[in-house]
């Protein structure tokens, strides 16, 4: 098993352990296996629901956050995420106006919008040389294209911090002043809390909480919202278990 890609292994192992299901949801193990083949917002959302029903709020929040990366404006994802966080005593996430404006559509749509904007802006700028008599109309088209690209860039700026966040997936996550397991923890993170990952050292990650506290937590207690790639041997190991 590769030690360089432990997140995938941890997630798969947790999924195998914490398998749950409902009348409509797939079991987490199956859903996780499907996630290995690709991600979709509904599948991640259903996986989050399954974990929530199985009493694993950390993994539920993790999958809701991942689903929200694909569908930022899905009210069900927001509602269930808020519900699970409140159930474990965590405050609901607050999104700034900039984040709401930047997340008007899914990143996939905005990516294509950026391509379209690039085409419009580029073509109109070239056309201004060829058709100087339509200079004003073409200038407006150029502005429209640049605006589309700008919205996509704003979306990327808003999502960038989320791409470096992680969720506590164990019941507690002790946070220490240095990356060694022997000293007393500074404080303990509750399950399902979200932290910003600022650095890594061996089996520890440097985290910053929403309240601004920093410290080293064990990597095994956290799962990054943006999953790392699972090595091929990890997958085969899980399949053969």
């Amino acid at each position: 098993m590769s030690l360089r890609a432990p997140w995938g292994t941890i997630l798969v192992a947790l999924a195998l352990l914490g398998s749950s299901s409902s009348h409509t949801a797939q079991p987490p193990a199956q859903a996780q296996a499907q996630a290995q083949a690709g991600y979709s917002a509904p599948a991640l959302y259903n996986l989050g629901n399954a974990y929530a029903r199985a009493g694993k709020p950390g993994l539920a929040v993790l999958n809701y956050e991942r689903a929200r990366l694909l569908e930022p404006n899905d009210p069900d994802i927001d509602a269930n995420l808020r519900h699970v966080r409140e159930a474990v005593g965590l405050p609901p996430e607050s999104r700034s106006r900039f984040e709401r404006m930047a997340g008007i559509a899914s990143p996939r749509i905005l990516a294509w919008a950026a391509v379209l904007g690039l085409l419009i802006a580029g073509a109109s700028m070239l056309a201004r040389w060829l058709y100087p008599q339509h200079r004003h109309k073409l200038a407006a088209a150029t502005l429209l294209g640049i605006s589309l690209v700008g919205v996509t860039i704003a979306n990327g700026v808003a999502l960038w911090p989320i791409m470096h966040e992680a969720v506590v997936v164990t019941q507690t996550a002790p946070v220490r002043v240095s990356p060694v397991p022997i000293e007393e923890p500074l404080f303990v993170l509750p399950e399902a809390s979200i932290v910003r990952v600022m650095g890594e050292h061996d089996a520890f990650v440097l985290v910053r909480t929403e309240a601004g506290r920093t410290g080293w937590a064990q990597r095994a207690n956290l799962a990054p919202i943006l999953p790392r790639r699972v090595a091929a041997d990890d997958v085969s190991l899980v399949i053969t278990r």
Binding site: S22, A111, L118
Partner: protein
């Protein structure tokens, strides 16, 4: 007279003081103490004898039954103060107790008080291998030979490595707790240079701790520091074997002849030996005596089909996370395997899925009850889901292992567990399934909104596409293409502007030349040259204004495009220029000036436009 008395008095006083000083130094003092006052059997106390004064003091070591006195060091110091010689001696005596009790050491001089030493029985807590009271009656331990406990010292008696096993006949895969002891005589071994190493590839040994237990022990009255590692040994294949352990260490080797070593033994203190350069460090590998062990193969007869290689003594129990549940919700079935043995081979697939239960792969965790992991509890957790509502029974779980005590395979059973599964509140039999993206709460599961319909559309990564290399590459190529096109068009226009500008500069230069030629012809009265130059200058000026070639500027084009007062005069210049080539008519000076003004006006108009 008075002076004589004075001198006699001073001399008498000096003699008196010298006599007093001599008398004070003549009586040496003795100070004796012992530390500590309380020891265990086999341990030693330090008896220090300090003498101070002039003269020689003979101190005889006392004789106390049960105590051994041995001089380990002596120092002497001489000081001369105000002409007086003061001699101090320090003698260190090691007192070793052979038996418990309260011993009274008589005073070494008539004036010194007796000393009391309390000797407690040895607790023997440092090593179970050597046994309690192993030193209460120490057997003579000859270097290079074994004592009754199997300890085998090196030929110089400085160290030993000892392996302790509870049994010498084991089965393949069976875990056996072992104890490895490395003993080093204090002062004779400089360092241990590595962990003890097993000299056999047919056995596995769990990792040894880098922090072994440390205990001070006396073996044959000599102090040893004993390091103890505990681990688990397992055999890989059957057969008779001979096990040895070895440990690398650095010892101090005597460099003096054997007869002198007797003195070293007498001194005993390696510090003193080092002062006199009697030892040198040497790296050696100390090996334990060979321990014979017989490894038996596991019998094939009676082997259960689900046997997974567990060897030891185990018992199992089972429980479930909840005895009441809703159909579709997961339960966790736990199986506890307690006992002693090779827990790394304790495996179970637990419950197999069927029509009644949907099962998943179990996960195991091991909680050791001792530091070496020989005893403990292994817990298997298996998620399972009841397919249908009703009262279900989780069947008894089985676990098969080989018991080396009974020498046969055993199968442990757990008790069946009953679970009542209720139908879900929103059963599909009674109600239509909730619509996808329904905004209503899922009442069944505590306020969660219902699941979504899963489509086939999936993405490879959660990374936003615009952060993915493919997208960045495509966008970059697109931007480069547009940027390149824009740059190409701009450069083309700039080049065109440059050509036009150069052409204009050439035309201005030519026009200036033509005007100079007109001025020269006017001064010379050469009408033909003047009119020809004027026509050429006008062609240049009008060609720039009308953006046509200068050669195309002729009378018909002037009639068509030129307007204003100068139109007729310019037509006349063109006509006269043609006539002047043939007729050779001369012009008056006023005519030269008039035509020059007309041409200059056209240039000024061109510049203005």
């Amino acid at each position: 007279m008075s002076i004589l008395r004075q001198r006699v008095f001073i001399a008498s006083l000096g003699i008196y003081l010298f006599a007093v000083a001599a008398a004070s130094t003549a009586a040496p003092s003795v100070d004796v103490n012992i530390e500590p006052h309380q020891i265990e059997v086999g341990e030693s106390a330090r008896l220090t004898i300090l003498t101070s004064g002039s003269g020689t003091l003979s101190v005889t070591l006392p004789v106390v039954p049960g105590l051994e006195f041995r001089v380990v060091g002596q120092s002497r110091q001489i000081q001369i103060i105000n002409g007086a010689t003061i001699e101090s001696t320090s003698t260190v005596v090691r007192v070793t107790a052979d038996e418990p009790g309260v011993f009274t050491i008589p005073g070494l001089t008539p004036t010194s008080p007796p000393l009391v030493l309390r000797v407690n029985p040895s607790k023997g807590g440092g090593s179970s291998l050597l046994g309690n009271g192993a030193f209460q009656g120490p057997a003579p331990l000859v270097p290079g030979s074994s004592n009754t406990n199997g300890i085998h010292l090196t030929p110089d008696g400085s160290a030993f490595v000892h392996l302790e096993m509870p049994k010498h006949e084991i089965y393949v895969g069976e875990s056996v707790p072992v104890e490895i002891q490395v003993g080093m005589r204090d002062g004779f071994v400089a360092s241990v240079n590595g962990l003890p190493k097993l000299n056999s590839g047919d056995f596995t040994l769990n990792n040894l701790s880098r922090q072994p237990e440390r205990a001070a022990k006396a073996i044959d009255g000599k102090p040893f520091t004993v390091y103890t590692w505990r681990s688990v040994l397992a055999a890989v294949k059957p057969g008779p074997y001979s096990l040895t352990f070895e440990a690398p260490m650095t010892i101090r080797v005597r460099t003096r002849p054997q007869r002198d070593s007797m003195l070293d033994d007498l001194l005993g203190d390696p510090f003193l030996q080092n002062i006199f350069g009697t030892t040198v460090p040497k790296e050696v590998t100390v090996t334990s005596p060979a321990a014979a062990i017989k490894v038996l193969a596991l019998p094939t007869q009676g082997r259960p089909p689900d046997f997974g290689g567990a060897v030891g003594t185990f018992k199992i129990s089972a429980d479930i996370s909840s005895s009441k549940n809703t159909a579709g919700d997961p339960l966790t079935l736990r199986m506890h395997v307690n006992g002693a043995g090779n827990f790394d081979r304790v495996e179970s697939s637990m419950l197999r899925g069927d029509a009644e239960w949907k099962t998943y792969e179990p996960k195991a965790t091991f909680n050791p009850a001792d530091p070496i992991g020989y005893r403990g509890e292994k817990i298997f957790e298996q998620p399972l889901i009841a397919s249908q509502p009703g009262t279900h029974t989780v069947p008894a779980l089985n676990f098969s292992y080989f018991d080396p005590g009974t020498r046969r395979y055993e199968t442990a059973h757990s008790s069946p567990l009953n679970v009542t599964v209720s139908p879900p509140a929103d059963s599909a039999a009674n109600e239509p399934p909730p619509p996808a993206n329904s905004a209503g709460a899922d009442e069944t599961h505590g306020g969660l909104r219902p699941d979504h319909a899963v489509s086939e559309a999936r993405v490879d990564s959660l990374i936003p596409p615009y952060f993915q290399p493919r997208f960045v590459g495509f966008s970059s190529v697109l931007a480069l293409l547009f940027g390149g096109g824009w740059i190409a068009l701009r450069r083309r226009e700039l080049n065109a502007r440059d050509t036009k500008r150069q052409r204009e500069l050439a035309r201005v230069q030519l026009t200036r030349t033509l005007l100079e030629r007109m001025a020269a012809a006017s001064a010379a009265g050469n009408a033909a040259v003047f009119l020809s130059s004027a026509r050429s200058a006008l062609q240049q000026a009008l060609s720039a204004r009308w953006e046509v070639a200068p050669e195309q500027i002729a009378e018909d084009l002037i009639d068509a495009r030129l307007e204003g007062a100068d139109k007729d005069d310019i037509r006349q210049i063109f006509a006269l220029a043609d006539e002047a080539n043939y007729s050779g008519d001369d012009l008056k000076a006023a005519d030269f000036e008039r035509w020059t003004q007309i041409v200059s006006r056209q240039f000024s108009e061109e510049t203005t436009s």
